[in-house]
Amino acid sequence: MRRIAFIAPVLIFLIIAGALAFGLGRDPKILPSMLIGKPLPAFNLPDVRTGTGGKGLASSNFTGEPALLNVFASWCASCRIEHPFLMRLSREGVPIHGLNWRDKGDAGARWLDRFGDPYDRVGYDPTGRTGIDLGVTGAPETFVIDRHGTVRYRHVGPIDAQVWTETLAPLMQQLRAEP
């Protein structure tokens, strides 16, 4: 009986270590979104280049083909890191819409002019209201929307080649195959 008291610490430790080993494979940055499997919340935003009569961005634009909705801002350093990869995707013909989130004045428009515009349409959300509806916690963040306007996936943080090839590209392919 007394012996068990001495063996208990190592047993308890091994169980905990096992749980931690499991935890290792987990990325704390994956945040499940409440919106997954639900239609995009309705919004109708003016174009980021205010006053130029641009197309703007509305939730109704996400029908017909699967697309990405990328949340960005000029003040966001990670967006700057992500940007060249979005340009590459855009050249490859992946439809990406942008949500210029909580940017002041024409900062977002100038940012796009300076570094290039990978987006089909860019909505302007200076107050962050649409961001709240989408449950955005920070920029950059990317939603995958299917052809019926339903949110299928949410990625927090910059998209890079690894995220794209391992997660997003297969998902987009699958969505394109769906009716």
């Binding site: 012996r3 190592v10 499991f22 935890g23 290792l24």
Partner: protein, 665 residues
């Protein structure tokens, strides 16, 4: 070139560490003094190589050698030299080099000052230290090489995170690591004792200074981190139950338990296997803390870059180190001599209870910290455990402990009587009761918990002071005798009085912050006036300014009526090269509370959102921690004299002033 020298030095240090552990274990098992001597020399050599590597890295930062990737990622030409040097340990890779450096320092110190230990025992301790060193050097070299070159060489680096460019944070990591790594000595001592199958009072006398030093450094490190969070994060919180904070709190709690049980082992020869277990667990919790910060298992505000490969390495290391130590414990500890017996009411029993509560509290923090992982394992869902859980479980348990702390030092060894104990402590008990009643009357029944918190603080401070009062026999003897008693007060009494009083001071601060914090938010422009917490403040100016490597909106307040400094300056800084924003809060500190102001973003009309806080007694939180650390330092000064005298025969030399055996090294 210096990066290559540093890299090579690190590789050599790894080789030396491996040689050190092989030679010492082999030498100890054959009782071969030549081999053991080589092991001791290896510990010194390891320190030299690691120090060289650390120096090379620091040199890279000092000279802004952007061809070293680490330097390019964490320093910038506009960054002041002090922060460039501090950036040496501001990154994951650099902090590992610092970790190894401190570990090597401990190993070398053991090797140099270990003369009075049994040679085989010292050898085994150095062997365990060598293995730990090799594991961390391997970690550094295999998964996070600090000396990787960058090609092409950038012209400019990325700045160290501005939040970290702060005097408090320069010394925070070294102090924490002194604590974490210091516990490795206790771990090595425990493992060596288990291998040899014997533990005695000398063992405890030897291990206590190391535990004390580690505990003192960790106490200061945690306090510094908490204070930094308070003034730097811009909203005046001082503890967030963030996983990384918990990672440093858990070894502290366990280390506190170890400190007390090692004392019982030294003085009474009791709690032997329990002390060994605590020594192993304290260091394991330090390792798990390292794992937590670097693995990305849990999301945290201060986490380093997430890299599963690093996490896997540290976890494997944790499992091997802790797992084998605990297996050794399960195998050897039952066969060891059981300790002396003691009555249910005695100092030994008091320390046992203290240890049990500290162990449970540590477990509570552990569960709270890792619950998201366990929860996902069981249900697949994600969950976060926030302050409500900790407040609900940690606070009551810890309050119970605080109730007991006052009794501990005044209990007699072996056995004691309830009535005598209560009689001895009548003054602190009476004062605490008065504080509870007065507090309840003053704040009302709704705040009875706050009154209880203050009463606890009063109880601890009074019980701490009573230790000195009893020793000095105040009022009972002529002044001259009392003065002599004051001067000859044993260091141990000072230490306990300081540490326990410090705990009381912290308790007062925490209670005041929890119960009586107030704040106000409003939009202000230049010349606007506000009444807050018994003061009248005027916003004198609100304008942009430029600093060495940042731009800022600066708000200057004047206190026109009420307590506090004449002007208070709050800034909202923007660091262009790293595109980071920080808030430099304006703090009007005083003994009974701080005024804390942070400024929000300037809007088009030149006004800004201003947030004012009143933080009553907040300084006491860290002041108490400093007192605790001071207690640790005082106790260490005592230990050093006795450090080299583990053999009872030598202690009969009737000259307590001369630190004889230590001088012989």
């Amino acid at each position: 070139m210096s990066a290559e020298i540093g890299h090579f030095a690190l590789i050599l240090a790894l080789v030396v560490a491996l040689i050190q552990s092989v030679v010492t274990f082999w030498g100890a098992s054959r009782a071969d003094s030549a081999l053991m001597g080589v092991g001791r020399a290896a510990a010194l050599l390891q320190l030299i190589f690691v120090a060289l590597a650390f120096g090379c890295l620091a040199w890279g930062y000092a000279t802004l050698d952007f061809s070293v990737e680490l330097v390019a990622r964490h320093s910038h030409t506009t960054q002041p030299l002090a922060y460039r040097l501090a950036a040496t340990w501001g990154s994951h890779e650099g902090s590992m080099v610092l970790w190894v450096l401190i570990l090597a320092l401990h190993g070398a110190a053991l090797s140099v000052f270990g003369n009075s230990l049994r040679a085989t025992f010292l050898s085994r301790v150095l062997g365990v230290q060598g293995l730990l060193g090799a594991a961390f050097l391997g970690f550094s070299l295999l998964t996070s090489n600090p000396f990787a070159r960058l090609f092409p060489t950038p012209l400019e680096g990325t700045e160290l995170n501005p939040l970290l460019q702060d005097p408090g944070l320069i010394s925070h990591p070294p102090l924490l690591y002194l604590g974490y790594v210091g516990f490795s000595v206790a771990f090595a001592f425990a493992v060596a004792a288990l291998i040899e199958g014997r533990v005695d009072a000398a063992w405890a006398r030897w291990v206590r200074p190391w535990v004390l030093a580690a505990w003192t450094a960790l106490t200061l490190g945690i306090a510094l981190g908490s204070h930094w969070a308070y003034y730097e994060l811009g909203w005046g919180g001082w503890w967030f139950w963030d996983p990384v904070e918990n990672a440093s709190l858990m070894p502290w709690l366990m280390g506190t338990a170890l400190l007390h049980s090692a004392q019982v082992l030294e003085k009474r020869g009791a709690l032997i296997s329990w002390t060994l277990l605590l020594a192993i667990l304290t260091f394991s919790l330090s390792l798990i803390g390292t794992f937590l910060v670097r693995s990305g298992v849990l999301n945290s505000v201060h986490a380093f870059a997430v890299d599963p490969a690093r996490g896997a390495y540290v976890l494997a290391f944790c499992v091997i180190a802790t797992g084998s130590a605990l297996t050794l414990y399960a195998w050897r500890a039952p066969g060891m001599r059981t300790g002396a017996m003691f009555a249910p009411l005695s100092k030994e029993a008091g320390v046992t209870l203290n240890n049990l509560i500290l162990a449970v509290v540590t477990f509570v923090v552990f569960i709270g910290t890792f619950f998201p992982v366990f929860y996902e394992l069981m249900t697949g869902g994600a969950i976060t455990v926030g302050p409500p859980y900790f407040n609900l479980i940690f606070v009551p348990l810890f309050s119970l402990l605080l109730c007991l702390v006052g009794f501990g030092p005044l209990l007699h060894w072996k056995r004691d009587r309830v009535r005598q104990v209560l009689a001895r402590l009548r003054w602190p008990l009476g004062l605490a009761a008065v504080a509870l009643i007065a507090g309840t009357a003053a704040f009302g029944l709704a705040k009875i918990l706050a009154a209880f918190g203050f009463a606890l603080g009063v109880w601890l401070i009074a019980a701490g002071a009573l230790l000195l009062v009893r020793r000095w026999d105040i009022g009972q003897r002529p002044a001259e005798v009392t003065w002599r008693l004051v001067r000859t007060t044993p260091v141990a009494i000072w230490a306990v009085a300081l540490a326990h009083t410090g705990l009381g001071v912290t308790t007062v601060g925490v209670t005041a912050m929890a119960g009586f914090e107030s704040s106000k938010v409003l939009r202000m422009g230049q010349g606007d006036q506000v009444e807050f917490a018994g003061r009248t403040l005027v916003l004198q100016s609100l304008a942009p300014v430029t600093g060495p490597n940042y731009q800022a909106d600066r708000a200057v307040f004047a206190i026109v009526q009420g307590r506090g400094p004449a002007t208070l300056i709050s800034e909202r800084r923007f660091y262009p090269s790293s595109r980071n924003q920080t808030t430099e809060a304006a703090i009007g500190p005083s003994l009974i509370g701080n005024l804390y102001i942070s400024v929000g973003e300037l809007d088009e009309s030149g006004k800004a959102v201003i947030r004012l806080w009143s933080h009553p007694f907040v300084g006491w939180i860290w002041g108490g921690a400093v007192l605790m650390a001071l207690g640790g330092l005082v106790s260490l000064s005592d230990r050093r004299l006795r450090l080299g005298a583990p053999q009872p025969s030598k202690r009969r030399i009737p000259d307590p002033v001369m630190p004889v055996p230590e001088a012989a090294e």
